[in-house]
């Protein structure tokens, strides 16, 4: 059964992202004005995708902390555990880039990325997509496109954002599975 975080990703995040897709389709015409408008929508789409994926990762982390904390019966120790699990958590303020994700889930003594990378041969490519998404997210947020310039072109295509979304969706399911399995291992219970 999926985590609450994954359910939210599938329903709430998908709805928000689909609305941006709808906005893209709603922009009519064929002239330069349309090209400018769709570029702004593509950029908004990328930023929203990054923020929704950050939300998912952060929720999944919180959910895991609550599961693990439930195994601690002494209130004060449980409290210390909770505070230390989220103190300075990178997903609270940083992009959902592979480094931040690996660092936060690594607090659970898991080799997060090796586990994810070994579970599907497509995951290295998905990880590269996640890195590209966050590079673009930063470029858009800071209006500094030097790091994403390709042959002097700083335009973002709808096709790229859709590829990133597909990668994020696949990772949401992978993350959910590997984190749940690791929590089950820590709590010495059979995986569901």
């Amino acid at each position: 059964m999926p985590s609450r975080s994954l359910v939210t990703w599938r329903i709430d995040a998908a709805r928000a992202l689909d609305e941006i897709e709808g906005a893209h389709r709603a922009v009519g015409g064929t002239g330069r004005g349309r090209r400018f408008a769709t570029q702004q929508i593509n950029q908004a789409y990328a930023v929203l995708l990054s923020s929704q994926f950050q939300w998912f990762c952060r929720d999944l982390h919180s959910e895991a902390v609550d599961e693990l904390a439930g195994a601690i019966t002494i209130p004060m120790i449980r409290h210390v555990f909770r505070t230390q699990c989220v103190a300075g958590r990178k997903l609270d303020f940083g992009n959902p880039n592979p480094g931040n994700i690996g660092s936060d889930f690594g607090r659970f003594t898991m080799d997060f990325w090796p586990l994810v990378m070994n579970s599907d041969s497509r995951n290295p490519r998905r990880r590269a997509s996640l890195e590209a998404l966050n590079r673009w997210r930063n470029a858009i947020a800071h209006q500094d496109f030097k790091t994403v310039l390709t042959q002097g072109i700083s335009e973002l295509g709808l096709r790229e954002v859709r590829q990133w979304r597909t990668a994020c969706d696949a990772f949401a399911h992978e993350f959910d599975r590997v984190v749940a399995a690791h929590v089950d291992t820590i709590l010495s219970r059979p995986s569901k």
Binding site: R4, D12, S62, E63, D66, M76, V86
Partner: protein, 74 residues
Amino acid sequence: MAAKHAKSSRKARMKVGDRVVLHLGPQDIFAEVVEDRGFIGVGGRQLVGIRRTGVSEELTQSYEVPAEELELVK
């Protein structure tokens, strides 16, 4: 880590701005709810971000607890 509902499908029990107390055995921690994290806890319980009150912001940071472990301060 299983669930059936989305974050927005329930009425929040605690809300941002609520003054609360967390009972930790012999110690009480007074705090303010600073973030509603939604119903993502075990069994779908609400998690909230709280920050201790009466302590300088530089000396404390927010952390997450289940709302059901908190008592509202009137």
